[in-house]
Amino acid sequence: MAEVQVRKLTLFYGPMRALDGVTLDFPDGQFFGLLGPSGSGKTTLLRAIAGFLRQQSGEIRIGGEAVENVPVEKRQIGMMFQNYALFPNMSVTKNVAFGLEVRKLPRPEIDRRVGEALELVRLGAFGARRPHELSGGQRQRVALARAIVTRPRVLLLDEPLSALDKALRVDMQIELRRIQREVGITTIFVTHDQEEALTLSDCIGILAEGRLVQAGAPREIYRAPINRFTASFLGEANFLEGEPEATGLRLADGSIAPWPNAAVSERARTMAIRPEAITLTQAKPDAAPQQVAIAGTLEQIVFSGPTATCLAQVGESRFKVLVKNQELARLPASGPVWLSWAADDAITLSS
């Protein structure tokens, strides 16, 4: 078990700068999610930590030890791939035993640990099967068993659940989390699915265009995104633009959206409000301190079971409001509405 530290990592893929001075800490024993759009560098970072890519400058330390000159096979990592990468010519048992056989452990020890690993992923009876005889979910569990049986210092997961269908993915997320907690291994998990990152991670790092945009606990980042990109990448957000003033943001229609209590001293030009923080009403709500209300036109309601997303035109922008099923009854199908929220629920953004 070890922590991983990345310092000012810069990596070029041919002429392209894939990583630009990334500095990040992956704490020991934590489940860390690397999140970002395609091309953000998250997979590049993972592969650099694994040792498949060499950086042009910067440092990577695993357990305090700099690993520039340590080849992949000596870094004591475990890895899971999107396409499982199970050895097709070997049985499940042999696949899982591979890493232990490479380390030349005694046979009884190998058998014991393989048995334990397969029990851990609930595939104890599948030892003799071949990969092509397994379902996608089973293959992924074998891949997990194989990766952790060697007791690596770090577990690296490269979008391992992307190839699974939705229901299976959710099941595997739970399994993954359970096993990670049980084994206590430092885990770095790459995904482009923000929901997956939110549910699995102790910590999240958001990357875009090779740079680290924001890192922290999921709730923290969700509550206080640093900029527009993060606000709309992790969750959804509605934006208000205007001129900063002492009490709040002066909007185009002249009204003022008051700063949240926890506002930073620099006055920002943009405010973000989460769809679930807004209340929709037909009648104008009574004025209340630290309550914001603006007028809009309800255009569309998208029903999705327990909730519905209401799309309202507010000035120049389209607002998304998350409405509970029970509240839908009190709203018209379309027409003028009022959007209100607590000033404290707004988020000021620097850019």
Binding site: G78, M79, A85, F98, R146
Partner: protein, 263 residues
């Protein structure tokens, strides 16, 4: 205006039949005559195994046959090892000059053997190897190499490089990775490549003719010089045997490697 399906089907079949006939008729006649008593291809046909019996007593032909097989086996081993290593390297790595190398590997297949033979002869004399069995071996390996690389390379195209990465992440050295993960997958390609290499070497006439020491000939060269001296049906017999062996090897190779296609 379309022709009826059955008419074009028949025309097509007749055409294929004619092509096969022109290809195989001389060979079939020759094979048949190896079992005929007459020395002069004269009919009526009397079945005999005499020529084959005479063959087993013919020291010259037998020595040449053993030399041919020996060289073919040595060529197969060398070309398969070198070719497989080259194919794996081309698959795994990017290096300066890779494109040029890939482009340079295949023209030799297209160059007429006459030209290859002459240029090799001149080159080997210039370098000091001269004629003889080492020269023949080198020549055969050079000729067989592109075939092995193509065949193994084709098999590698279906190989998922992440399997190698997975093995390395589990602690396997690059050598272990090749042995335990890559080779099992490409084994069928390696075998097909080896069979090609054997066929290329065993059947080789032109280059062997240039590079062999007179008197130390391989079988095809020996057959050629024998014919020039005077024809005996033992030639038919040994030729029939060579054809049967070569066809068996190529049929086995084509079972494992689809020309231009995927399995």
């Amino acid at each position: 205006m379309t022709r009826s399906l059955s008419a074009s089907g028949i025309a097509g079949r007749v055409y294929v039949g004619l092509v096969l006939f022109f290809l195989y008729a001389p060979i079939l006649v020759m094979a048949l005559m190896s079992f005929n008593a007459s020395e002069f291809y004269a009919l009526p046909f009397h079945f005999t195994l005499d020529w084959y019996r005479k063959l087993s007593g013919n020291e010259q032909i037998l020595h040449a046959a053993i030399r041919s097989i020996g060289i073919a086996i040595a060529t197969t081993i060398l070309a398969t090892i070198i070719g497989t290593m080259a194919a794996i390297a081309l698959f795994r790595y990017d290096f300066p000059g890779k494109r040029a190398l890939q482009a340079a590997l295949f023209p030799p297949i297209a160059i007429p053997w006459l030209i290859t033979g002459t240029s090799m002869l001149v080159f080997f004399f210039w370098v000091g190897i001269g004629r003889g069995t080492p020269a023949v071996l080198l020549g055969h390996v050079a000729l067989a190499l592109p075939y092995v690389i193509v065949v193994v390379g084709a098999r590698l195209e279906t190989f998922d490089i992440q399997l190698e990465e997975a093995a390395r992440s589990l602690g396997a050295s690059p050598w272990r990775v090749t042995w335990a993960v890559t080779l099992p997958w490409i084994a069928s390609g390696v075998v097909a490549g080896a069979l090609f290499a054997f066929a290329v070497s065993f059947d080789q006439f032109v280059v062997s003719y240039f590079l062999a020491q007179p008197g130390d000939a391989t079988l095809p060269v020996m057959i050629y010089t024998s014919i020039r001296k005077g024809f005996t049906p033992e030639i038919n017999a040994i030729s029939t045997i060579i054809i049967v062996i070569s066809m068996a090897v190529m049929l086995e190779a084509s079972r494992r490697f689809r020309f231009g296609g995927e399995r």
